[in-house]
C-alpha cells in the first residue's frame, strides 16, 4: 500500500510539473501567433520538418522587415506523428489555448481530412498541402476554412500521364502502387483513367502495402508483362526500393513517377534511378527556386526539399492575407485568403472559390539522367 502511495504521488508530481511547463502563456502584446501542425516524428517526418523549416524561414524574413501590422510572428509547432487524433488535439489546442489566428497545415491528407469539419466549426483557417480533394471540398460544397496550395493528386497524375503519352509517345504501362496509402492510390487511379481515356493500355497493375520491402514478386510479374513504362507513385523510400529491384531484375524501360521521386531518391537508389520522368513542385535550375534554396541552405545548412517551399509559400500567403484583412480576426483573415493571388516560389497561387484549390498550377517535369535531375519544362494539368 505504501509503495502504491509513493507511485501515485510521483505520478501526480510529474504531471503537475510538466503541465505547468507546457502551458503556453498566450500571445504577447507584440505578437501574432500562427499554428503549425506537422508530422515531426513518424513515417512522413521528413516532410513535416521541411515544411516547418520553410515556415520558419518565411516568418523570420517577415519579422526582419518589421512583422505584420507592427507585430512579430511567432510560430507554434505541434507534432501529430501522422495520427489524426493527435492532429485534432493539436488544432484544438492551437485554437482554444494558444489562440492562434490561423493554422498552417500538413502535407498529408489522412490528417487534413479530419481537420476540415473541425475548422469549419471553430472557424480558424488552415492553409496546407493535403492533396486529397476531400480535405477541401465535400459533397455539399467547399470546406470554408481549408485551403490547398498545390495541385491535387489527380492533377499531378494527369500531368505525368499526359507527358508520358504525348511527349514520350508511350502507350503500354505497368503500374505499381501502395494500396494502403491514399496518396499513392489517389495518383494511380487518375493516371490509369487518363491513359485509358486517351487510347493507352494498362498491361498490369501490382500493389504493395506499407512496410513491404520485398517487391521481387511484383517486379517479376511486371517484367513478364513487358510494358513500355512503369508508373510508380509511392513514398520516396518505396520508390527507391522499387527502382532498385526493377532494374536489378532487368526492367530498363522508363519509370514514370510522382513528386516523391525528388531528393533524396538518387541518394537512396543510385544508378537505378536513371531513366525516370516525374512531375515535381520545384527544380534547381529555375531562378526563382535557386534564389530560395540559397537562402534556405544558408539558414538551415540543408538542401531545401519541396515541402520547404510549400511551408514558405503558405506562410507568405497567410501574411498577405493578414495584411489585407487589417486585423487579427480569423474569419476576416479567411476571407482575405480566399482573395489570394500570390506569386509564390511554387508558382502563381490563386484559389478557385468553389474548391479552395489553386486553379491550374503548373508542375515541372524532371528526368533523372546520370544520377542527376534534368529539368524538362513546366506543364499545366491537361484540360482534356
Amino acid at each position: 500500500m505504501k509503495k502504491l502511495k509513493v507511485i501515485i504521488i510521483l505520478m501526480t508530481v510529474i504531471f503537475l510539473t510538466f503541465g505547468l511547463f507546457s502551458y503556453s502563456w498566450g500571445a504577447g502584446e507584440e505578437e501574432i501567433l500562427v499554428g503549425n501542425i506537422q508530422d515531426m516524428s513518424a513515417g512522413t517526418a521528413i516532410w513535416g520538418q521541411n515544411d516547418t523549416n520553410g515556415i520558419l524561414l518565411a516568418a523570420e524574413e517577415i519579422n526582419a522587415l518589421g512583422g505584420i501590422l507592427g507585430k512579430k510572428i511567432r510560430v507554434i509547432t505541434y507534432d501529430t506523428k501522422g495520427d489524426p487524433t493527435e492532429a485534432i488535439n493539436a488544432y484544438n489546442r492551437l485554437v482554444d489555448l494558444d489562440k492562434v489566428v490561423a493554422v498552417l497545415g500538413p502535407p498529408t491528407s489522412n490528417v487534413g481530412i479530419p481537420l476540415a469539419p473541425i475548422a469549419e466549426r471553430k472557424k480558424v483557417p488552415v492553409i496546407g498541402d493535403f492533396m486529397d480533394e476531400r480535405a477541401t471540398t465535400h459533397s455539399g460544397g467547399v470546406w470554408n476554412f481549408m485551403f490547398l496550395t498545390e495541385p491535387s493528386c489527380s492533377e499531378q497524375a494527369e500531368i505525368a500521364a499526359s507527358y508520358a503519352l504525348k511527349e514520350l509517345k508511350l502507350s503500354k504501362f505497368a503500374v505499381i502502387y501502395n494500396k494502403a496509402n491514399s496518396y499513392s492510390v489517389n495518383m494511380a487511379i487518375p493516371f490509369m483513367a487518363y491513359v485509358i481515356k486517351h487510347g493507352g493500355e494498362i498491361l498490369i497493375t501490382e500493389t504493395y502495402l506499407f512496410g513491404d520491402t520485398e517487391f521481387g514478386a511484383q517486379c517479376t510479374k511486371i517484367k513478364n508483362a513487358n510494358p513500355e513504362a512503369v508508373f510508380v507513385p509511392g513514398y520516396v523510400q518505396d520508390n527507391a526500393l522499387i527502382a532498385k529491384q526493377l532494374r536489378g531484375i532487368g526492367v530498363d524501360v522508363p519509370i514514370i513517377g510522382n513528386n516523391s521521386w525528388y531528393v533524396p531518391l538518387i541518394e537512396l537508389a543510385g544508378p537505378a534511378a536513371n531513366n525516370t520522368y516525374f512531375p515535381n513542385n520545384m527544380a534547381t535550375d529555375i531562378p526563382r527556386f535557386q534564389e530560395f534554396m540559397k537562402r534556405y541552405e544558408k539558414r538551415f545548412g540543408m538542401e531545401a526539399l519541396i515541402h520547404a517551399l510549400m511551408g514558405y509559400d503558405n506562410m507568405n500567403i497567410l501574411t498577405e492575407a493578414i495584411k489585407k484583412a487589417g486585423k487579427l480576426d480569423p474569419i476576416a483573415i479567411k476571407d482575405a485568403i480566399e482573395q489570394t493571388d500570390h506569386a509564390g516560389v511554387m508558382g502563381r497561387i490563386k484559389f478557385n472559390p468553389q474548391t479552395h484549390r489553386p486553379d491550374r498550377m503548373p508542375l515541372i517535369m524532371l528526368k533523372i539522367e546520370n544520377e542527376e535531375f534534368v529539368t524538362l519544362g513546366e506543364y499545366l494539368p491537361p484540360l482534356d
Partner: protein
C-alpha cells in the same frame, strides 16, 4: 508443334517459379536471422522479446555512422553493427529486464517492457539522429548474376552466406563452449541451473549480448538491402511470426520458420497479389496453429500440473 510451345511455356513458368523461389529465400534468410536472435531470448527467458527490433535499429545506425566516419569495408561494418547491437541488448536488459527479474514479475511484463524498449530505441533515433532516410552504399555493386532468365543479387547471396556462417557459429558456440552450455542450461531450467552453480544473472546478460550480436547483424543487413530509417525495428514482427511458425523450442525452428515465411509471402504475393497476402497468411497461420501448434520443428511444452 504444339508440344514445343507447351514445353516452352512450362519452361518459362518454371523459370518464373524459380525466380520467385529465390526472391523468397532471400527475404526468408533475413527473417530467419531475425527470428533466431529472437528465439534465443525466448528459449532462455521464456518471453517474446520485442526489443529485438530496437537492437536491430541501433545496430544498423551505429554501423552506418561507423561507415561514414571510418569508411569501413562490408565485413567491418557488419562487425561494428553486430557488436553495438550486442551492447545495446545488454543495456536494454539492465534497464528493463533485470529490475523485473529481481521483483519476480510475471513473464507478461517482460514482454510489455520489451515492446517499450523497442519503441524507446525508435524514438531515441528520431530525437537524436533525425528522421531523414539514409542508405549504405552498394558494397558489392548493383550487378546481378544472371543465369538464363533468373537473377540473383550478389548482395543477397553474400548476406545469405554470412547468415549461414553466423548460424553455424552460433551452434558451435552453444554446443561446444562452456558459456554456451551455461546458456543452454539456463534455458532448460533456470532454477536448477543456479543450484548447479551457474551465475544466472551473468548468463542472462550474456544471452542478451549474443542475441544482440545477431540482432545488430540483421539490422545492418536490413539497412543494406532496404533503407535506414527509424521504423526499421518494426520488421521484428515478421521475426516473431517466423519463430512461432517454426517452433519456439529449438534453434532450428526459427530458421525454418523464417525461410518458410519468406518463401510463402513471396509466392502469395506473386500468385495472388500483395493485397490478398495478409488475408491468406492469416488463414494459413490459423490452420497451422490448429493442426501443428508446436511449430514445425518445435516441441510441445506440456502444461505441468
Amino acid at each position: 508443334m504444339k508440344a514445343g510451345l507447351l514445353l516452352r511455356n512450362v519452361k518459362k513458368e518454371l523459370e518464373v517459379f524459380l525466380q520467385q523461389l529465390l526472391n523468397g529465400l532471400s527475404s526468408g534468410g533475413v527473417y530467419a536471422l531475425m527470428a533466431v536472435g529472437f528465439g534465443l531470448i525466448y528459449n532462455v527467458l521464456k518471453f517474446s522479446n520485442f526489443s529485438h527490433g530496437g537492437v536491430m535499429l541501433i545496430g544498423c545506425y551505429t554501423a552506418y555512422f561507423a561507415f561514414k566516419i571510418f569508411h569501413s569495408s562490408l565485413f567491418l561494418t557488419l562487425l561494428f553493427g553486430a557488436i553495438s547491437g550486442g551492447f545495446c541488448a545488454v543495456i536494454f536488459e539492465k534497464l528493463a529486464i533485470a529490475p523485473l527479474r529481481k521483483r519476480n514479475a510475471p513473464k507478461v511484463y517482460f514482454f510489455v517492457n520489451s515492446i517499450n524498449g523497442g519503441l524507446l530505441a525508435e524514438y531515441l533515433i528520431v530525437a537524436t539522429v533525425g528522421v531523414f532516410f539514409h542508405t549504405f552504399p552498394d558494397f558489392l555493386g548493383t550487378a546481378n548474376i544472371n543465369i538464363r532468365q533468373i537473377s540473383f543479387s550478389k548482395l543477397n547471396l553474400t548476406m545469405f552466406t554470412i547468415s549461414l556462417i553466423t548460424l553455424f557459429g552460433l551452434m558451435w558456440y552453444l554446443y561446444k563452449t562452456k558459456s554456451g552450455r551455461a546458456i543452454r542450461a539456463v534455458a532448460c531450467d533456470i532454477n536448477t541451473a543456479s543450484l548447479m552453480g551457474v551465475d544466472v544473472n551473468r548468463v542472462i546478460s550474456l544471452t542478451f549480448f549474443v542475441s544482440g550480436l545477431l540482432g545488430g547483424l540483421s539490422g545492418v543487413f536490413l539497412g543494406i538491402s532496404y533503407t535506414i530509417y527509424p521504423q526499421l525495428g518494426k520488421m521484428i514482427v515478421k521475426g516473431w511470426m517466423a519463430s512461432v511458425i517454426g517452433g519456439l523450442g529449438s534453434l532450428l525452428g526459427p530458421v525454418v520458420g523464417g525461410i518458410l515465411l519468406g518463401v510463402l509471402e513471396t509466392f502469395l504475393t506473386a500468385y495472388i497479389g500483395s493485397s490478398f497476402t495478409p488475408i491468406l497468411e492469416f488463414i494459413i497461420l490459423l490452420m497451422f496453429l490448429l493442426i501443428r501448434p508446436q511449430g514445425i520443428a518445435g516441441i510441445i511444452v506440456e502444461e505441468k500440473v
